[in-house]
Each structure stands twice: as C-alpha cells, then as structure tokens.
C-alpha cells in the first residue's frame, strides 16, 4: 500500500513535469510565430543576428522602406523610387533623373546591437542591369547617374571601409545619394536601379 501511494505520487510528478514541458514548448513556439508574423512586412526575413552564443552579433541597417529627399530643378517630375532596406543591403529602383543636380538622397541608419565591436569590411555595389557601371568602393557611376554611400546628406563624404561601429547601440548614419552627374539633360525617361551591400566583421 505504501509503495503504491509512493508510485502514484511519482507518476503524478512525472505527468506534471511532462505537461509543463509540452505546454511551455507550445506556448513559446506559438508566441514566436505570432510575434514574427506581426513584425514581418516581407514574407521571409533573413538576418545576420547570432543570438545563440554568449557573444551576440547584431549589426544591421534599420530595415524597411525609406523615402527620398528630392532635390533638383527639372521641370518634368523627378522620380525617386522607394529604397528597399534589408539587414545588409540598400537598393532603389524606379529612379528617373533628367538634369545635373537632380538627386535623390535616402537617409539610413546602421546599428550595432550586439556585444562585439564591428568594423566595416566590404562595400559592394549592386549594379543596375540595364547599364554598364564603373565602381569604386562606396561610389558607382552608371552612365549619367552616380550612386554614393556617404556619411552626409549632400553626398560629399564617402563611407569608408574599416570604420568602426561600437557594440551595444553603436549607430552610424549614412545616406544613399543618387545624383545626375551627366553633361546634358535626358530627353527621354530613363529608369536606373542600384544600391550597395555592406559587410561588417568583428573588430
């Protein structure tokens, strides 16, 4: 009788533990799924966060869609497409510029929320498919249009590799500046699209 009582108590304890574990798994996974669905604006987000190590890595653009600051004197409407920003790339499509000084400037933020200092390792241009380009780090010249990643809104100071982004809330403001740098104006609309990919490494 004593043994049976003991066994029943143990069995109840096992059952309680098992139910607790299973309920915890279900609640956490469903919670993650609901939260992820609520956060997603695209159907699939790839990230470079490393969260399962004691040294966390989380260096990324603030993602989303960014509207341009437009400037220029073209009588026909300049068109500045919306910049698509993922964790490590920024790209713009549907940009139409006509005259020298027409430009679209996109303000961007790169944040280091991990526990390691980061250093900018490479800047890789994303070249438009419809035109040939010459590239040099954070500057890409495609025909009459120049793309730059700069640290100022006017597009004068290029972003350089080996710049350091400090751990835990280190922030860098950069601007993707798309400018008409040709000699004359376009008489027909031309659409250009391009961007840059940044790769950061542990310092």
């Amino acid at each position: 009788m004593k043994n049976t009582k003991k066994e029943t108590k143990k069995t109840k304890k096992d059952r309680k533990e098992l139910i607790t574990i299973i309920l915890a798994i279900i609640i956490i996974i469903l919670g993650l799924s609901i939260a992820y669905s609520a956060l997603s604006t695209t159907l699939n987000i790839k990230s470079n966060k490393i969260s399962h190590a004691s040294l966390t890595w989380d260096v990324a653009f603030e993602t989303g869609y960014v509207n341009a600051i437009v400037s220029g004197t073209s009588s026909t409407g300049i068109k500045c497409g919306t910049a698509s920003v993922t964790t490590s790339t920024v790209s713009v499509s549907d940009t139409v510029l006509y005259k020298p000084d027409d430009s679209c400037s996109y303000p961007l933020i790169i944040k280091n929320n991990g526990s390691l200092d980061a250093i900018l390792s490479t800047i890789t241009p994303i070249t438009p498919t419809s035109v040939s380009c010459t590239t040099n780090g954070a500057e890409m010249v495609c025909g009459d249009i120049t793309y730059k990643l700069t640290t100022d809104a006017s597009g004068n100071n290029l972003l350089r590799t080996n710049s350091i982004l400090e751990k835990i809330s280190g922030t860098e403001r950069v601007y993707l500046v798309i400018k008409y740098t040709g000699l004359g104006g376009n008489t027909t609309s031309t659409q250009y699209s391009g961007g840059f990919t940044l790769v950061y490494k542990q310092k």
């Binding site: 043994n3 066994e7 143990k10 069995t11 304890k13 096992d14 533990e17 098992l18 574990i21 299973i22 915890a24 798994i25 279900i26 956490i28 996974i29 469903l30 993650l32 799924s33 609901i34 939260a35 992820y36 669905s37 609520a38 956060l39 604006t41 695209t42 159907l43 699939n44 987000i45 790839k46 990230s47 470079n48 966060k49 490393i50 969260s51 399962h52 190590a53 004691s54 040294l55 966390t56 890595w57 989380d58 260096v59 989303g64 869609y65 919306t82 698509s84 929320n113 991990g114 526990s115 390691l116 980061a118 751990k167 835990i168 809330s169 790769v199 950061y200 490494k201 542990q202 310092k203």
Partner: protein, 378 residues
C-alpha cells in the same frame, strides 16, 4: 520562509541589482572584469559557506544524450545548409581573434555554471528559488549583450525579446534542470557545445531569423524532454519493466503529436516551402476575407484567372486582393481590387509581383497577430 530561504533570496536579488547597475547604469562592458566579479561571487558563496555536493545520478548517460543531441542538431542544420545556402561568420577569422573569442566563451561559461551549481545546491529544496536562480542566470547572461536602448521602441523591444531573451531563457531552463539533476559537468558540456563552436566555424546555415529563433528555443526544451527520461527511469527504477515501457511509449506518443503540430505551424509561418499562411490586417476584402482572418497560400499555383484571390507585394506592403481583369500586353498584366473597395487598384501587376494564390481562409486565427501588429505600430 526560513532564514536560509531569505538569505539566498537576498543574494540572488543583490546579484541582479549589481549586474543591472554595472551594465545599464555605468555601461561597463569589460568582459574580463565581469568574469572576475562572477568568480568572486562563486568563491564567496562556495568556500565561505561549504557544502557537500549532491551525488548526481546517470551522469554518463546524460553526457551521452547531450553529445548525441547536440551533434545531431549541428549535423541536421549544416546538412540543410547545402539546400538553403550558407552565410559567412561575422566573428573574427584571425587566429588571435578566434582564440580570444573561444577563451572568453570558455571562461564565461565555466564561471556561470559554477555559479549556477553553487546556487542550485544551496536552494535545491526551495522550488521558487530554483526558478529564481534560472531567471538570475538568464539576466546575468543577457545584461552583457543587450542595453536599455534596445527597448527604445515597442518594435525593437519585441525583436530583442524574440532574438535574444527567449532563446537565452530557454537555454537557462535546460541548464538549471541539468545542473539540478546531473550536476554542472553536463551543463558545461552542453553550454560549450552550443556556444563555443560559433566562434570557430567559418560559415553558418543561412536559416531565416524566425527559424533560428525557433531552433534556439526548441533545442534546450527538447534536451529537457530527452534527459527527463533518465530522471524518470531513476525515479521508477523499482517498477517493473513493462510498466515503465508503457509510460515511456505514452510519453513519446504525446511528444510526437505535439511536435507534428508545431512542425506544421513552423513550416507554414516560416514560408520555406510551397505553402504558407498570412494574417489579413485590413478590411479591404470584408465580406469574403475579414480583418483577422488567415489565408492559406499556395506559391506554386501560377495559373491565375479572374476571380482568384492572390497575394502580392507592392511598395513594401503585402496585399491580398482579387483579380478583376487580365490583360495580355507583352506578357500578362493583372488588375486587382479589394472586394470592399469602390475602385480597381491603381497598379498593374506582373507574374513577378505575385507571391501566390489563396486556397482557403481560416476565420479569426490571425486576430492575435493583427492586434500585436497594431500595438507595435502605435
């Protein structure tokens, strides 16, 4: 509550407050200083107030289970990498950088697990303090890698909760469970296998953020399930074999059903396969698809006709509308309209814009998602 309980409750609260002060207020992120501080705490508790370590059971079997599950996990995820691709590790690739990261990882983990063992041995008979120990160790780990700035907005706070806090807590639940029943050795081995390898491997499987978070949470909880068999076996070792086997089978069946359900949820939400689901956040299709409903999408069904409800992306937004007209001008152009809208949408879609076709609707399932999304947007 007796003196012993209050004493260790106070010790654990002081640990949290001190660490919070150091990181959140003073913003002192020196890793080696932190390790020395934790070591000092271990020495103070362990040697000034000595105790005999409990004789843990089934250590060898537990170690074998940990090794098999961890290595199996890496084998499966890296095998998946051959299909989904790999990304380069962002950790330092120089020999000195790797040695520095590994050295930190090993030091930090060993000290944390020593602290966990010391606290667990002291508070073993108080369930609430054992749970608090798990919470304290989670906070000690997290304070090192996240800051108050992460909680600047609701959105970033939720992202940090999902990416770092929940996986860290799940990991600490297993580590606490393992230390309680098997001792610190098993916890150290598991923690090192999960952590230190990251600083050595040159590439990671390119798994989405959602899947990474799910795996980070599932892995330690599966470890608890698997190692609990050893605990239960010891608890019932006097029972006959057949009764034990029946209980084990029942447990495994229940776990398998749970996992099949969760696998389905993760498969659909992660959007890795042919089918996916989407919560509808607006009322533009009221009448047929209401706000808060979930649509089931087939991405492979590319044959669209007038009247089909499709999912597409336009200006960064995912939209669910009905095809009202199809034009054939140098390829198919689709015009869409929300059932509750007065006019046809002012965009033209091509096959490239369309993500998939809606197959059926599940009513009200997306209400929590829509509510959370609106809360984050406020």
């Amino acid at each position: 509550m007796n003196k012993q309980y209050l004493k260790y409750l106070l010790i654990e609260l002081i640990l949290i407050i001190f660490s919070f002060l150091q990181f959140a207020i003073l913003k002192q992120y020196n890793v080696y200083l932190y390790i020395l501080e934790l070591l000092a705490v271990v020495i103070v508790i362990r040697f000034l107030n000595p105790f005999d370590l409990k004789n843990h059971f089934n250590k060898k079997e537990a170690l074998l289970v940990v090794l098999i599950v961890c290595l199996g996990y890496y084998a499966i995820t890296y095998f998946l990498g051959f299909f989904i691709g790999f990304i380069k590790s962002s950790f330092s690739r120089s020999l000195l950088g790797i040695v520095r990261n590994v050295f930190f990882s090993i030091s930090f983990i060993v000290i944390l697990e020593l602290l966990r063992e010391v606290l667990i041995e002291k508070v073993r008979y108080y369930k609430s303090l054992v749970f608090l120990t798990c919470v304290v160790l989670t906070i000690l780990e997290l304070l090192f890698s996240i800051s108050i700035m992460h909680f600047a907005s609701r959105r970033t706070a939720l992202e940090i909760l999902m990416a770092f806090i929940i996986p860290c807590f799940a990991r600490n639940i297993f580590l606490t469970y393992s230390t309680f029943y098997f001792g610190k050795d098993i916890s150290i081995v598991y923690h090192l296998l999960i952590d230190t390898i990251n600083y050595v491997v040159p590439v990671f499987p390119n798994i989405s953020e959602y899947l990474t978070q799910v795996l980070s949470v599932l892995h330690p909880l599966v470890m608890i399930f698997v190692t609990s068999n050893l605990v239960i076996f010891k608890r019932h070792e006097k029972e006959d074999f057949i009764t034990m086997k029946k209980k084990r089978i029942a447990k495994n069946v229940l776990f398998s059903i749970t996992f099949m359900f969760l696998f389905l949820v993760v498969y659909l939400v992660s959007d890795i396969g042919r089918f996916t689901i989407l919560a509808v956040g607006s009322g533009s299709m009221e009448g047929s698809i209401d706000k808060g409903d979930v649509v089931f999408i087939d991405k492979n069904d590319k044959k669209y006709k007038v009247g089909d409800v499709i999912v597409f992306q336009y200006s960064g937004t995912i939209i669910v509308h009905r095809i009202v007209e199809i034009k054939d001008i140098n390829g198919k152009i689709y015009l869409t309209k929300g059932d509750a809208n007065n006019a046809v949408d002012n965009w033209e879609l091509t096959d490239n814009n369309i993500k998939g076709k809606c197959k059926f609707v599940i009513k009200y399932l997306g209400i929590p998602t829509v509510a959370l999304s609106e809360f984050l947007s406020e």
